[in-house]
Symmetry: C2
Subunit: 241 residues, 2 copies
DNA sequence: CCCGGAGCAATGGTATACCAAAAGTATCCC
DNA sequence: GGGATACTTTTGGTATACCATTGCTCCGGG
C-alpha cells in the first residue's frame, strides 16, 4: 500500500517529493482531514503518502516553520485555530487589508476591476455557490487588492492571515455567505472611484461584518454558544481606531 | 575540523541538533556571517557545524519556511532584505505597532512601564551604547508593548517584522541611534497616561522617524545614494492614513 | 486486586549510503 | 585554436539503517 499521491495529485510531476508532500499535507489540513490538534507522526504520514520519512519530515519541518504545525517537546500537532485566534487574526486583517485597499486605489486598472466585479456578480444564485466557490471569489478579491497595493509584505501577510482564518473550523457551515457580495462590490466601487479612504472604510467594514457574522454564527452553535468571557474581551479589538 | 558548536553554544544541551542548527544558522544570518544572497549548501554547512546533513537540512527547511532562506529551483540562498523590502516592512510595522500601542494603553502596569523607562534611560551615554545594546532595548520596548496588546497574532508579527528589519544591511552603521530614546519615552509617557490614541500616534511617529533615518542615512551612502526611483514611490507608503 | 518492573513496540532524531541532475573540467576532433 | 563532447565532481534529494527515549503491555508478587 504505497499508492496515494497519484489519486488526485500530479502523476509524474517534476517537483520534489518534499514539496509535493508539503502541498498534500497542507491540503489535508485545510480540508479538515487533519483537524487542529491532531498529532502528526512522520512514519504514518510517510506510509500514507507512499514515500519515505525524509521528504515528509522536510515537509513537516517547513510547515512547522510556517506555523501550521506546532512542536511540543517531541510531538507535532496540527495548530488549531481557536475562536480567540480568529478574532485576533481578523483584528489584524482589518488593519492590513484596510491599508491595502487604500493603497490599491488608483493602482488598479478599470478592466481589472471590471473583472473582479464580474467574478463577484457571477455568484448570482446563493444556493449555487459552494463553499469552494465562495472562497475562490473571496480570495480573488482580497488577494487582488492586496497585490495591487504594491506592498508585497502586506500582500503576503494578507494571504497568510486569510489562510489561517480558513483553518478555523468555520468550514462546512451552510451559511449565507452572500452578504459579503454587496460589501465586495462596495469596495470595488470605491476603488473604481479611486477613493482610497472610501475603499479602506469599505474594507474594514466588510471585515467587521465578517467578524460579526462569526460571532452571530457561534452564538447559535451549541458547542460554541458561550466560549467563556473571552468574547467580551475580543469584541473591542477591531473597533478602536 | 568539526568543532564549532561548543565554541559559544551550549556544551551538551538537550535541544535537538536540528534546533541547535537552526538557531546557529539564524544567528549567522543576523550576524552577517551569511549575508543576503549567499548560497547555502547543506553539506558545507553541516561540516562547518560538525554534524550530519539531516538536522542541518531540517533546520534549513524550517528557516526557508519562515522566510529567512529562499529556494530558487534547487539552490538555497539567504533571503536578502532590500531597501524596498525595508520600506514595505516599515509601512506594515507602522500600522501594526501603532495598533499594538493603542491596545497596550491601560493594559500595562505602571511598574512594568517604569521598568521600560529605566531600561531606556539606562542608555545614558550615546557612545556607550553598542548596537547590540541598542537593539536589546529597542526589542524590549517594542516587544513588550506588542505583547501587552493582548493580540498574540500582532505580537508575533511585530517580532517577525522587526527581525526582518534587522536583516537589512543597516547593521554596523555607526549611527546616532539615540533620537529613538526620546521617542521611546514619549510612547511610554502616553501609555502611562493610558492614552491609546496618543500612544499610537507616538509609535507611528517613532517608526516614521526611523524610516526617515534610514532614508537620510542611505542618501549619504555612496552605494545607496540613488537607489532608482523606488524611493519616490515608497516615500508615501506610510503617510497615507 | 493492585502495584511494579521487565520486556517490547512505537516513534522521533540522526547518520549515512545511494542516486540523478547539474556544473565544471579536461579532452579530442575539426 | 575553438568548440563540442565525454568524464569527473559537486550537490540536492531520497531512502534506509540505527539509536535512544517513550510509553505500553503483560506478568508476577504482594
Amino acid at each position: 500500500m504505497e499508492m496515494q499521491l497519484q489519486s488526485s495529485g500530479p502523476p509524474p510531476s517534476d517537483e520534489s517529493l518534499a514539496v509535493r508532500a508539503m502541498n498534500e499535507i497542507r491540503r489535508m489540513i485545510f480540508a479538515g482531514v487533519l483537524p487542529g490538534g491532531t498529532v502528526v507522526q512522520d512514519r504514518k504520514l510517510a506510509e500514507q503518502l507512499g514515500l519515505s520519512r525524509t521528504p515528509v519530515r522536510e515537509a513537516l519541518g517547513r510547515l512547522a516553520g510556517e506555523g501550521y504545525l506546532r512542536r511540543d517537546k517531541r510531538i507535532l500537532t496540527v495548530q488549531s485555530v481557536s475562536f480567540e485566534d480568529v478574532m485576533e487574526i481578523l483584528a489584524t486583517r482589518r488593519l492590513i487589508e484596510g491599508e491595502t485597499a487604500r493603497l490599491a486605489a488608483g493602482r488598479m486598472t478599470l478592466p481589472r476591476l471590471a473583472e473582479l466585479r464580474a467574478a463577484i456578480e457571477g455568484m448570482i444564485d446563493p444556493r449555487e455557490v459552494s463553499h469552494d466557490r465562495h472562497w475562490t471569489v473571496d480570495d480573488l478579491v482580497h488577494q487582488s487588492i492586496a497585490e495591487a497595493s504594491g506592498n508585497r509584505m502586506m500582500a503576503r501577510l494578507v494571504k497568510d492571515l486569510r489562510e489561517r482564518t480558513r483553518m478555523f473550523g468555520l468550514s462546512r457551515i451552510p451559511r449565507r455567505f452572500d452578504p459579503g457580495k454587496a460589501e465586495h462590490l462596495a469596495i470595488i466601487a470605491a476603488l473604481e472611484q479611486g477613493d482610497g479612504d472610501a475603499a479602506a472604510r469599505a474594507m474594514t467594514h466588510h471585515i467587521d461584518n465578517a467578524r460579526q457574522g462569526i460571532l452571530d454564527l457561534l452564538a447559535g452553535t451549541p458547542s460554541y454558544a458561550a466560549p467563556a468571557g473571552a468574547r467580551e474581551d475580543l469584541k473591542n479589538q477591531g473597533s478602536t481606531s
